[in-house]
Subunit: 328 residues, 2 copies
Amino acid sequence: MNRFHVVLVAFGLSLIGLAAPAANAADPLPSWNDGAAKKAIVRFVTEVTKEDGPNFVPAPERIATFDNDGTLWVEQPLYTQLVFAMDRIKALAPAHPEWQTTQPFKAVLAGDVKTALASGEQGLIEMIMATHAGMTADEFSHTVTRWIESTEHPRFKKRYNECIYQPQLELLQYLRDSGFKTFIVSGGGIEFMRPWADEVYGIPPEQVVGSSVVTKFEMRDGRPVLIRQPKINFIDDKAGKPVGIYQHIGRRPILAFGNADADMQMIQYTKGGDGLRLGLFLHHTDAEREYAYDRKGHIGTLDQALDQAKSRDWIIVDMKRDWKVVFP
Amino acid sequence: MNRFHVVLVAFGLSLIGLAAPAANAADPLPSWNDGAAKKAIVRFVTEVTKEDGPNFVPAPERIATFDNDGTLWVEQPLYTQLVFAMDRIKALAPAHPEWQTTQPFKAVLAGDVKTALASGEQGLIEMIMATHAGMTADEFSHTVTRWIESTEHPRFKKRYNECIYQPQLELLQYLRDSGFKTFIVSGGGIEFMRPWADEVYGIPPEQVVGSSVVTKFEMRDGRPVLIRQPKINFIDDKAGKPVGIYQHIGRRPILAFGNADADMQMIQYTKGGDGLRLGLFLHHTDAEREYAYDRKGHIGTLDQALDQAKSRDWIIVDMKRDWKVVFP
């Protein structure tokens, strides 16, 4: 290609690249109802991208972080990763006869989720360690991919990574079209999300922050591999979220979106910077189309954040009221 | 802006964006002599970007990782970060009378670098903890920026972050122009590099991987801050480099560039993936323009990697022979 061709091709690519945002120019968020939440989002994005305005933020500083469970995809009736862990326990059970008599494994194998969960945090950690460690990084990634491609959500009867929120997909795209870099910052396992997050959310592996196990570099059969160890490396939840953001991103976000009290620190940290900032919580209010839960849920508890939202200028997005559709 | 204006502006931006690569089309690496190293680089980039070729790699998978000390900037006669730590010890000494009688601080305050270094790894860690922890993330970042803007390299009489290698700047740009995402993966402190890496190398904070201290989220005077703790979180060196890459990037690089045995694991890991891969070591052979050191150096020891390069198909870049100029 000579220079002229290069320019022509680039021009063509520009046209293609612009087609989507240009078509949406009238409404970048068609699945959002015209309420206070949508207005706040559009006003914020307009302000920080207005080059001659008082609230302009240069593109590289336009960092947006999203929780995953309950913010980008469904987290009810159980965290997807927990369903994965229990399925893996069943698959691995033949090699672990001791699980037949040890909790929480015994309960999982008997299909008794309630008893398994009653084992509390210690039981949860044991389930994660038994299923997320002891293999290479590549093996784990393939296991996640195979599982997620072959498992359906019990209520919605589609793959878990199809139980994602259409309004959020539009918001992610709107932000990227406005020069933002979008990140996931989740309490979930970083390597449980990376295999499919790019395809589903347009968020590449290097923009996913999450909890992790220790990994170790080894030569195995002459090949360099990373072995996942049964030891927690980092919990990217609550006060861990700002720490994960500092570690991975190294800049303070200007927009953060969560759905639970466990996201409060991320949103406090985001709003604590100078200039215009936006903090949002998704409130699950829609039992008909999805789920309704907040203060008393065992998953995604939203309680203190609801109380403090008004005084702290946090935006509460009401699923039932603010979203025209829930799923793609 | 209406749609027509958007397209016109995008077209204009395309022209600006393309000006540099188009001008370099004949030679994307003008500061590299036409030797085996340059040929290997250009052949590799050409192959992985040839869409209908057998070695094509989609753009998102084009991850390139670079060590920093001795690979992108000068690491002699002392690691820059160590000079920073010693300068900070001098600055903080009035508040630490105990340092007058405790090693390695006593030696640092007396200007006796040799004795300070004789304290070994333990002494080094003490120096780092005394100077890199106990403040907020923002305070540390400002301290690094102020220091690097006001301190000169003893031999080259310019700022440390001007003692960077022109051929590497061209290589970073060439890779980015070819659809690569460029990362730093350094044994140095992640927060010591982030404040200036974007301006100097075009590598934004979220693409810097390095060693770190534990940080803790706190509300201080009603503001959310991250406090750096005097405790090591992660050492991103040797076998830690592939681990750091897994944590931060989540994909195996296809190109990695180091200069020391401490980079061997990163380069093994990179070369261990499927398809075409490139691993390079910079060999410091130029005492006149920079420094000459390899097997016996106390900094950036390059010994085993030199022995194994041929059998492992690692490219040794000879500074004296391969680089037309060293500094910008």
